[in-house]
């Protein structure tokens, strides 16, 4: 039986296995004004709770207001339970996963080579919830996935063989795992789409730069590392 106050949430479809599965306890791994990052029993961040105005993470669910503080926190059996508050899915959304093979023409092979050599030095480098080096790495991974680049498989294998949780923050580790599969925030996807279609990129670039204190800039740098030009320049 569902008890307590029922509240709606808009959940990423990546959370479906977690929500449909049996109930598991969670803990708060990180708390900020706009979001909470929740971790499972292995200290892996598995779910981001986002308040209005927060950047939409691929493994996030959006709620209207901060839940009342409580120690008991669990996910499963169709709900996210937080003390007396029970969140059910009012809307499922699919996080962005850009695919732009045409952008492959803009890929710089030297950039890809540099990434394969340098990625370990980027990992966990910088302060904050998502270190700048990780943001660059995420931007690069999502771009490689978008153009279906053959180098992605090798990089993905190396990253998944790494103990990410001991190299960077738990939240950033989860974002890196998502980026290996091509999932990213809407702002990066919008910018990639604008680049790939030769549309105006000024607005999408500005929107991406507004993400986090430097996360947007990091993602943009990662993108530029792999695909420095935009498509129109390449085509010309």
């Amino acid at each position: 039986m569902r008890t307590g106050t029922a509240r709606p949430m808009a959940a990423s479809v990546l959370l479906a296995p977690l929500l449909d599965g049996p109930r598991r306890a969670l803990t708060v791994a990180h708390r900020s004004r706009l979001a909470l990052q929740l971790a499972d029993e292995h200290s892996r961040v598995v779910l981001g709770v986002m308040f209005p105005g927060a950047v939409r993470l691929p493994f996030g669910c959006a709620v209207a207001s901060s839940p009342s503080a409580s120690s008991s926190l669990s996910v499963g059996d169709g709900v996210l339970a937080w003390g007396d508050d029970v969140y059910t899915v009012a809307r499922w959304w699919r996080p962005a996963r850009p695919r732009h093979r045409t952008l492959g023409a803009a890929v710089d092979p030297d950039g890809v080579r540099r990434l394969l050599l340098r990625w370990r030095r980027l990992l966990g480098r910088g302060p904050g919830l998502t270190p700048y080096g990780d943001d660059v790495l995420c931007g690069a991974l999502v771009t490689l996935h978008a153009v279906d680049h053959p180098a992605l498989a090798a990089l993905r294998a190396m990253i998944s063989a790494t103990a990410l949780e001991s190299s960077t923050t738990a939240t950033s580790a989860s974002l890196l795992r998502a980026a290996c599969e091509g999932w990213c925030i809407d702002e990066l996807a919008d910018h990639l789409a604008a680049k790939a279609t030769g549309a105006r990129t000024a607005e999408t670039r500005a929107a991406l730069l507004r993400v986090g204190s430097s996360s947007g800039r990091g993602l943009l740098e990662g993108l530029a590392l792999i695909a420095p030009g935009n498509l129109r320049q390449v085509a010309a």
Partner: protein, 485 residues
């Protein structure tokens, strides 16, 4: 008792808000009845039926307040409470500056924020004005409103066609756009299916059945019941198919509708051939696949294993005499049930009769096997849809269960956004203890806010037999009738 009638000239509020306010005020001490409604012909009839003396010369833009209270003080207090309720501003969320007054028109709103979609539910005689404003602002638009003139629908859709925009509706009650439920929509998981639907409850049945086999839906684009007529020519259907074809998240396209005009059907079929994705076409009609069969074909097209939709409840009782009475909130579900029933029992009367079948009188008196669609325009003018306000159907259900000529009651229960938050409880209370068997089709997904299994359990507890498939529910209801054997 004191009867008070007031008219507020030009004080417009939408019918749902007024219904909620009427309900809230009726709970006040010393108050027997409070009806606050726009002065449409239907509402005026209802009020005079309740014994109120109404002033002459009102227009549908006027608000009528009718109060039946114990004494004048209670009536006055109710009017004061009404004024307070009417002046309450709804809490609105949005991307506006907190200091800016809300925009007055869709065009003004579109100039303020980066939006690409408008949802219009203004009265039908003015909805075209708002829809044209949305098109001029470059927005895709869903017109929930009904009673929009055919010529206006054609003009709007021609315009949208030329501008590369989509007009969903008029009379589009159901849509899902990228997981966002608009109007009466179910909570669906994103998936490979994209639906174009000229029927709201038909789309809801399809989405629910697909959800039952774990198949997700990315978009369900309603186009309005008239889109595939010869006059409209399927303009929105074709545009919606193009949008789905261009959407990378959609692998399979489904078109559902009543049988279109032949030349329009031909146009849809030949357009489907030009698309890069498989298109499953499900036209409902005599001798055609029902919605459940269409769902099965969609599952097949996507390589999903099909399982027959769920049934909840006890074993079927022995067949009995009497007639089948179908009480529906979904027009397409009602149609589907009538088609199946007519194939078995022949004559089926309805307020939305099938071709060659009898209609009903103005009081909707049951004659033999009878089906009523409570969502029909004639019964919703100026009042909320029965999926929100169940009172008309509950009243009729009570009468049918007491009617010795009624052998079996068949009804639909539709869940999802926009629908009543707990339709099963009132139905269960009415059904409970009745000797007449009741078979219900329960249209909903596992994530719907009402709780699919909770709703089923409530109906079963009251003695009803519940099916996820409307077609299966209809077949079981028919099997309970002696005449159908």
């Amino acid at each position: 008792m004191t009867r008070t009638v007031q008219v507020r000239r030009g004080a417009y509020q939408d019918s749902v808000s007024l219904m909620l306010i009427s309900r809230e005020l009726s709970d006040r001490p010393g108050v027997a009845t409070v009806q606050v409604a726009m002065a449409t012909a239907l509402n005026l009839d209802l009020l005079s039926g309740l014994g109120f003396d109404l002033p002459e010369g009102t227009s549908p833009n006027d608000m009528v307040i009718a109060i039946d209270a114990a004494d004048p003080t209670a009536a006055e207090a109710t009017v004061a409470a009404l004024d307070e309720a009417l002046s309450r501003r709804p809490a609105t969320a949005g991307a506006l500056d907190p200091g800016a007054p809300p925009p007055a028109t869709i065009g003004a709103a579109a100039r303020r924020v980066d939006a690409s979609f408008a949802l219009i539910s203004t009265p039908g005689r003015t909805a075209t004005i708002d829809a044209a404003d949305a098109l001029a602002a470059g927005l895709d638009v869903m017109i929930f409103s009904d009673n929009v003139a055919l010529a206006h629908e054609v003009a709007l859709k021609r315009w949208a066609d030329d501008a590369g925009l989509l007009v969903m509706g008029p009379d589009c009650g159901t849509a899902v756009v990228g997981g966002v439920g608009l109007g009466f929509a179910n909570v669906v998981r994103p998936g490979p299916v994209g639906i174009v639907a000229a029927s709201g409850t038909g789309a809801q049945q399809l989405m629910s059945l697909l959800d039952g086999v774990g198949l997700g839906v990315t978009h369900c684009l309603g186009v309005g019941g008239r889109d595939l007529s010869a006059d409209v020519g399927g303009r929105s259907t074709l545009a919606a198919m193009d949008r789905l074809d261009a959407d990378a998240d959609v692998d399979t396209i489904v078109v559902i509708s009543k049988p279109p005009a032949p030349e329009v059907a031909e146009r849809v079929t030949s357009h489907a051939r030009t698309l890069g994705k498989p298109v499953v076409i499900g036209y409902l009609g005599v001798g055609r696949p029902d919605l459940t069969e269409t769902a099965r074909r969609v599952a097949e097209a996507t390589g999903t294993t099909w399982q027959p939709p769920r049934r909840w409840g006890a074993d079927a009782p022995a067949p009995r005499g009497g007639y089948l009475r179908g009480l529906f909130v979904g027009g397409t579900l009602c149609d589907e049930a009538m088609i199946l029933a007519a194939a078995t029992v022949g004559r089926v009367a309805s307020n939305i009769p099938l071709a060659g079948q009898p209609g009903l009188d103005a009081a909707l008196t049951s004659v033999g096997h009878t089906f009523i669609d409570f969502g029909d325009d004639q019964l919703t003018s100026g009042r909320p849809h029965p999926m929100i306000d169940p009172s008309l159907r509950l009243e009729r259900l009570r009468r049918e269960l007491a009617d010795p000529a009624c052998g079996v009651v068949l009804l639909d229960v539709v869940l999802g956004h926009g629908a009543h938050q707990d339709p099963a409880t009132d139905l269960a209370a009415t059904i409970h203890g009745s000797s007449t068997p009741v078979v219900a089709s329960l249209v909903g997904t596992r994530d719907d806010p009402q709780g699919l299994s909770d709703q089923a359990a409530r109906l079963v507890e009251a003695g009803a037999i519940v099916h996820a498939s409307n077609a299966a529910a209809t077949r079981e209801a028919l099997s309970l009738l002696e005449v159908a054997r």
